[in-house]
Amino acid sequence: MQSRPAARTGGLTGAKVGTFLARQGILIAFVLFMVGFTVANERFLEPDNILGVIRSSAILGVMALGVTFVVISGNLDLSVGSLMSFSTIVVLDLHDKLGPALAIPAMFAMTLAIGAVIGFLVGYLRLNSLIVTLGMLSAIHGLTLTYSGGQNMDIADKEGTWFSVFGQGEALGIPVPILIFAALAALLGIVLAKTPFGRKVYAVGGNGTAATFSGIRRARVVFSCYLVSAFCVATAGLIQASRSMGSQNTVGQGMELEVLAAVILGGASLMGGSGTIFKTVIGVLILGFIQNGLLLIGLEFYVQYVVTWIIIILAVWLDVAAKRGRLLSPIA
């Protein structure tokens, strides 16, 4: 049987522009905000400021990378903030007990173990991820308090250790946290976009039943996503600990929602099955630059809240409107 191509429209440039807009709605929103802030305050685009914003977004950003995996696989992770506090406290405590070379792998192992527990509960036991991670948010906080006895953790000899390199070091004039963030984003971006595992993550999030029918071991994929998330959290905790060389038990508190906001702002759907690492990075940067931009303009923090609200909705609106090709929702 001979095959005919489907009826097509000609090479309409309008349609191509439309498709591009649909794909890159969030990027365009990002550019618009940057232009807006630059107009409002000329310091905004200074290299120092840009680097500063990215550096302070790096911790949030690294966590958002992992949560992107979890969200694409169709689940949520509300425990990242609490888990990050745990990692930070643990690595600081072990630093003085074991030395940095042992403390770091030990902390990663402990964080990944908790990630594995969550992954087991959500992946293998199929418990609802929102509630499991909400429960873990509380439980891990309890664990952290038990571990630290509720005390702040500080590295005793702050000058005599190379531990500060992760948070405060620089290479080629670029702060190390930015380098870590960029490297991890590149690595995970490739994993998600190019490897069989990444493909499975999309399939499981897009339609878990169909994925199972295609021979994908769904539980294993979900489990792995939580491990990725825990790995990112551990990395974030490392940067955090190294940056301030000491910490409170609540250092990551409340970050789970910021992280989620960044991931969603990047266009990942909470229903699972869509989103990319690149867009998450954009989402992280938008949040970082909004905060910074408003701070530079000198608005009260609560004005920032309101502006962030408006910007989140406008950005996501632009994104979905571009995808569906019309501004207003078609629902009656």
């Binding site: 120092d48 911790i59 509720g150 702040n152 500080d154 301030s244 910490s247 409170q248 038990n249």
Partner: protein
């Protein structure tokens, strides 16, 4: 005669001051054969604190110590205890005046005075440096909405113009009692203002966060850092010569004072209504007089 005393704290996990307070309180109670305690934590939530007050009343304890999450919202709950003939002792930060009738005593630091003292430390330092007429400063306040944060900021802002009328407070942003948050706020300040001579932080945790930011930008040497509630990190930074001054406040004293006040009330002793314990100034110059904080 054994006293059963209930305490409802503000938010224990949030920082090591409150944790140390709780530990010290329990230790003091255990050391005293005469008392048994029920220790509750409101987790920063007024509704939960009010529920805990009701529970303590329902359990018929002999006295209630409350560390209010909101100095006014708890007044009706305090009145309930009063009506049930249970004496209430307020600790750490006071409740509002309408509630004074229902309260046996207050025990804690004077946050307004603390703010004022921080302003004095800052001003004195500027005078030593001879920049009291041109200095520009920023403030990083505590968690928005909390009495302690509000009172310290107020004390500072009221006192500063009295002692150093020409110092300008350029901007205030909250650091949420959080070192990392404060570090971010300070980073933005550093970009925004080329000339910052001083930073007042609502506690040393935030102060050290700001110091870290300034160090990273290579500008720590130009800035006078003054905080409050001298934490161990602040004390160390002071010892290193990075951090100028703070207010020495011990959670152990705070907790022991509260428990003692409660016992005194129960024993029918005459206690003053406002039981402030002293919170002296601490700076690089006099820090030798103080031991390093344990929290």
């Amino acid at each position: 005669q054994e006293y059963r005393i209930g305490i409802t704290q503000n938010n224990v996990g949030v920082d090591s001051y409150q944790t140390t307070y709780e530990k010290a309180f329990i230790a003091a109670a255990e050391a005293n054969d005469m008392v048994e305690t029920v220790v509750l934590d409101a987790g920063g939530d007024v509704a939960r604190q009010i529920a805990q007050m009701e529970d303590l009343i329902q359990q018929e304890v002999d006295a209630i110590i409350i560390w209010p999450t909101n100095g006014e919202a708890v007044i009706p709950a305090v009145r309930k205890a009063f009506q049930a003939d249970i004496p209430v002792i307020v600790t750490n930060s006071n409740i509002a005046k309408q509630g004074f009738d229902f309260v046996a005593s207050f025990s804690g630091p004077d946050n307004i005075t603390q703010g004022a003292r921080s302003a004095e430390i800052m001003c004195d330092r500027f005078k030593e440096m001879g920049i009291e007429d041109e200095a520009q400063i920023v403030q990083i306040s505590g968690q928005p909405g909390y009495t302690t944060a509000i009172e310290r900021a107020k004390g500072f802002e009221d006192r500063l113009p009295e002692v150093c009328p020409n110092v300008t407070l350029m901007e205030t942003q909250p650091g949420d009692w959080n070192r990392e948050k404060s570090q971010q706020v300070m980073e933005a300040f550093l970009v925004k203002y080329d000339d910052i001579d001083g930073v007042y932080a609502g506690d040393d945790n935030m102060g050290v966060g700001a110091l870290n930011a300034a160090k990273a930008a290579g500008r720590a040497g130009d800035i006078v850092f003054v905080g409050a509630t001298n934490f161990a990190v602040g004390y160390e930074a002071m010892a290193n010569g990075d951090y100028w001054g703070s207010i020495y406040q011990s959670p152990v004293d705070d907790a022991e004072a509260a428990l003692q006040t409660a016992i005194d009330v129960l024993e029918g002793k005459d206690v003053p209504f406002l039981n402030y314990f002293d919170t002296p100034k601490i700076t690089q110059e006099n820090m030798g007089d103080f031991s390093k904080p344990v929290f």
